[in-house]
Every structure is written in C-alpha cells, then in structure tokens.
C-alpha cells in the first residue's frame, strides 16, 4: 500500500514514540542492574552504562531468598499452566464442537467469570482454604491461578478450534473412532498452537499474580516472586541495584517463553477476539 509522505512521517514518528514508551523503561532497568550503585543514583542519569558490575546479582542470589521465590513461582506457574490446559481444552471442545445441553447459559457464566473481581472472593477463599488445610500451600495458588485463567483460556481456544475443518473429525468418526481418540489423535496435534497459547496465558497470569499469593502464603520459603520480591522492597533501605537486578531476573522467564510461543499467543488473542 502506497502512503503519502506526511502520512509515512506520522507513522514513523508514532512507531518511534511507542518504541521508546515501551523499550526505554526496560532498557534503563536492565542496563541499570549492571551499573555501580553510585551510577544508579547519579544526579545526571546515564543512557549508556559507564560502569559494569555483577554485584547486585551476586547479592540477590546469595544474600536474599530470591532464588527460592523464583523456584516457587516456576512450580506454581508450570502447574497452573498444565492444569489450565487440561481443563480448558476439553471444555472448549465441548462448548464449540459438541452437542451440549445448556450451552448458552454455561457459556455466559464463563464470560462473566472472566471479568470477575478476584478481591470480592479473597476473604471467603481464604476461609475456605483454611478449612481445607490449603493455606500456606503452593497448591492453593495453583488452584486459584487456574480458576482465574480458565474462562479466558476457554474463550481463546474457540478461535483455534474454528480453524480445524469439521470434515476431518467426521471422517474419523465415520471410521468408528470414539471421541476421546479423535480428540487425542487428530485434534490435539492440530490445535497445539492453541494449547501453547493457553499454556502461556496461564503461566503469565500465574507469574504476575500478587493478590492471592500475598494472602494465602504465610511462610517466606513458600512465597512467589511478586510477593517475595515486594517484601525485599521494604526489607532493606531502598537498594535500587538489588531491585533492578531482581526485576531483570523476573522479566527473563516470560521473555524466553514469549520468544518461543509469543506468535501463537498473539494469534489466539486476536483471531477470536470480540466476536
């Protein structure tokens, strides 16, 4: 598509604006995590680091419980991700591909659950989990994170299921294959991008969750990164180097995952969006 010169200029300026808006803060934080303390708090901030040190990372990994938080977050994130996929994929299949009684009502309930304010059920969930002996247990976070990732995941699977021709299933059905076999052998391989997208979504939501993790976990060695790390902010007199190193490390896992399956995730988000 040909664009006029002023329009192309406007486009370039806008691209630059968003590039700086998103990129610059991350650049400052990540490059800052390698600066010496005196450069971090210098009156004249530097865009390009003038010093290099790994002391903040060393301190973070040796002297704080940050590694424990990372491990806990990874456990909770991966488990929530797997559980969400296991629950969302069959449910979405039933919703969008099978004959299901009360479909409309159930689907509406799912959509409603998506925008549900978690804080409203925070107190009763705490009470309920206390009764079940789940307080201060990572399992509690896995359950809660799956709950909140589930509605959006089911909705997101819809666009992936829609891309698979029904003839394929029906041919297999004519050959007498039972539905679970069809699902496992034919559909799952085809909707793997969708499964990846749901898995990534659940992992990210779990990775960033703060509210429930701050209430349901009591002991320090079970904390996840958002809560444990937030504790570090207040613990020491603000040690920016330490915090910047911690922030950079917390960015790393989601960036790695996103560079592997980010595209599938984005197409899941946009292909089925708001229909």
């Amino acid at each position: 598509m040909k664009q006029s010169l002023p329009l192309r200029l406007l486009l370039a300026v806008t691209i630059l604006f968003f590039l700086l808006l998103i990129g610059l803060p991350f650049w400052w934080v990540i490059s800052g995590s390698f600066k010496l303390p005196q450069e971090i708090i210098a009156r004249e901030p530097t865009l390009v680091p003038q010093s290099f040190t790994l002391q903040h990372y060393a301190k973070l990994l040796d002297a704080s419980a940050y590694p424990t938080y990372l491990v806990n977050s990874l456990i909770v994130g991966l488990a929530s991700s797997v559980l969400t996929v296991l629950l969302a994929v069959p449910a979405a299949y039933a919703f969008f591909r099978m004959e299901l009684p009360f479909r409309e009502g159930m689907y509406r309930a799912i959509l409603l659950a998506y925008a549900f304010p978690g804080v409203i059920v925070l107190i009763p969930i705490y009470g309920l989990f206390a009764q079940l002996g789940l307080v201060d247990n990572l399992l509690a976070l896995i359950i809660v994170n799956t709950t909140f990732a589930l509605p959006f995941s089911i909705w997101m699977m819809r666009s992936f299921l829609a891309t698979i021709p029904r003839d394929l299933e029906e041919a297999a059905r004519m050959d007498g294959a039972p539905t679970p076999v069809i699902l496992r052998r034919i559909l799952v391989p085809l909707i793997l991008p969708g499964v990846a997208a749901v898995g990534v979504f659940a992992f990210i939501s779990s990775w960033t969750e703060y509210l429930f993790a701050s209430v349901l976990i009591l002991s320090d060695d079970k904390r996840t990164v958002p809560v444990g790390f937030a504790g570090i902010i207040g613990q020491y007199q603000i040690d920016w180097g330490l915090l910047l190193a911690g922030a950079s490390l917390a960015i790393l896992p989601v960036v790695i995952i996103f560079s592997l399956v980010g595209r599938a995730f984005v197409s899941g988000l946009t292909d089925g969006a708001v229909k």
Partner: protein, 316 residues
C-alpha cells in the same frame, strides 16, 4: 452434526428402526461426553468463585473477626455501617475516577498503536508480538521500573522533564493525592494498553480492505477514511472493550498497593484497596465482606445496564 453424513442418513431412511435408534444413542452418549468435558472446568469455577460468593454473603451478615470462628449473626448491621461511612463513598468515587482515567488513556494509546500495527512496515510482525512486553511482566516489576524512574534518586523522568523545560524543578510524583492518582493511572495504562491494542487490531483486520480502497479511489483523504469508515466500524468492538476494560481495571489492586498502598492520605484508595485494608490490616472481615458484596452488586448492575444498552444500539 448430520450435515457430513449423507450415507448413514439414507440408510436410516430405509431402515428407520435400527439406524434412528443407533444415532439417538450416539447423540445421547455424545451429550454425556460433552458434559463430562465441561464438568471439571465448571466444577472448579463453582468451587472457587460461586461458592465463595455465597460464603461472602454469609460472612457479611455476621460479625467475624477471625477466620474459622463462626461469628454472631448481625443481620444487615455491617451494611448500614459501611453505607454510613464516608470512607466507602470516597473509595467508590476514587474507583470511578480510576476506571474513567484508565479508559481514556488506554483507549487513546491503544487506538494509536493498533492503527500503526495495522500498517505494513519492516518488523511489524515482531512488533505485534512484543508490544505485549509491558503486559507479560509481573506487576511488581512494573512497580519497580516506575518507582525508580520517577524517584528523585537516579530516576530519569524528573531530569528529562526539567531538561525539556516542562518542569522547573524535580517533583514528587506521589506526594499529593491528585498527582499520585494521575501517575498511577498512567503507569497502569502503560501496563494494560497493549492488551487493548491487540483487541482493536483484531477488529481492524476484520474491516474489509476493499471498503477503504473504494474510498481512496473516490479521493477520500486518510483522516476522512478513518472518520467515515474505520471509526464507525470499530464502534461495536470499542463498546465491548469498554465494558470488559471497565471491569478489568476496576479489579486492579496490586499496582496501587505496591506503589502507594492507597496513599498519600487515602488519595489512591480505590474499593479493592479498601476491601484489602479492611480485611487484612483492620481484621474486620465481615465489614470487608459487606463492602465486597456491595461492590459486586454495583459491578453486576453496571454489566447488565451496559449489555442492555449495547443490544438496544444493535437493534436500532
């Protein structure tokens, strides 16, 4: 389902007894299987959302100070207490300001970003994925990024604004109620606008390209085409996003809590912050539950009213 089965159906017609029954039996088992597939998901939602909602109502009618102790039944006393408190109404007002501010800033940013990402330029496919960067990192990281950048010890924003001549001297972005609220709205929008961007981008890709092309052939300028074609066709998406976005940004707790903890002097204490504080700082669990229930009712009212007005618009 029957569409793809021309053969079995003819057989069925020839021998309705056997084929019909077989089909019916299979349909019945498919329905059972479908129910089996949705049950675990719905069961979990019922256990962790629906049931706690019932518990919240029960809790709000009692006087519970400690989790696990049943507490005396006090009827609507918690509700009259809460409704008589200025704090509750002030927090409600702050939540309104919060939601409205986020809606304006995020829609503006997201619309601009989506229009850009809808064009073709080198690297656009990568940009469509990585625009989400601020949305995939933990809130606590967002909070640290901005607390540092806005701080007066090594923060970049103050020197930048002073150099650009926009500020005379460095300011404390969280020192007054108004500026704390404004700053938080901007930070939260920075985190969330990419998500809205992708939703709008999805709607843009569904607008048929030949419509735009035809208008261009007729000599319509870029602005005219946006005003007359793109904007009206985006309306349905934008109104859905407004409803979902309102609920989602209403829910935001962690960014506020970790940045200002509701301060200074309550200036950023929205309803979720008030609920959290009442329950886990003041240990007034029942009162917090009453605020939760009132909040839930208000949001439900909003959602119903919004979806009604949307269906009405569609009908008109």
């Amino acid at each position: 389902m029957e569409r793809g089965f021309p053969k079995p159906r003819t057989k069925e017609a020839a021998d309705p007894g056997v084929g019909g029954q077989g089909l019916r039996r299979r349909r019945l088992s498919e329905r059972k299987l479908a129910l089996l597939f949705v049950t675990p998901a719905l069961g979990l939602l019922a256990l962790t959302l629906l049931w706690p909602l019932v518990l919240a109502v029960d809790l709000s009618l009692r006087d519970v100070r400690f989790i696990g102790k049943p507490g005396e039944f006090v009827g609507l006393a918690n509700y009259t207490d809460v409704l008589g408190e200025a704090r509750f109404w002030q927090s409600g007002l702050r939540s309104l300001i919060w939601v409205a501010g986020n809606a304006v800033v995020q829609t503006a940013l997201a619309l601009a970003a989506a229009l850009v990402l809808h064009q073709s330029f080198p690297g656009v496919r990568i940009a469509r994925v990585w625009v989400l960067l601020t949305w995939i990192v933990p809130t606590v990281v967002v909070v640290i990024i901005w607390r540092w950048l806005l701080s007066n010890s090594g923060g970049m924003i103050n020197p930048l604004l002073v150099q650009a001549g926009l500020l005379e001297a460095p300011v404390g972005f969280f020192s007054s109620r108004e500026s704390a609220m404004t700053t938080l709205v901007l930070i939260n929008s920075w985190r969330w606008f990419p998500f809205v961007t992708l939703m709008i981008l999805a709607a843009l890709t569904r607008i048929p390209g030949d419509l735009d092309e035809a208008a261009r052939m007729d000599g319509a300028g870029a602005w005219q085409r946006f005003r007359r074609i793109t904007w009206p066709l985006l309306q349905p998406t934008l109104s859905v996003l407004l409803v979902v976005g309102t609920l989602l940004s209403f829910n935001v707790f962690d960014i506020i809590w970790l940045t200002t903890a509701g301060g200074p002097s309550g200036g950023t204490q929205t309803l979720p912050v008030l609920i959290y504080e009442t329950a886990f700082k003041g240990y007034e669990l029942s009162r917090a539950a009453a605020i939760s229930v009132l909040t839930g009712l208000a949001l439900m009212g909003f959602a119903i009213a919004a979806s009604r007005s949307m269906t009405r618009e569609e009908g008109a």
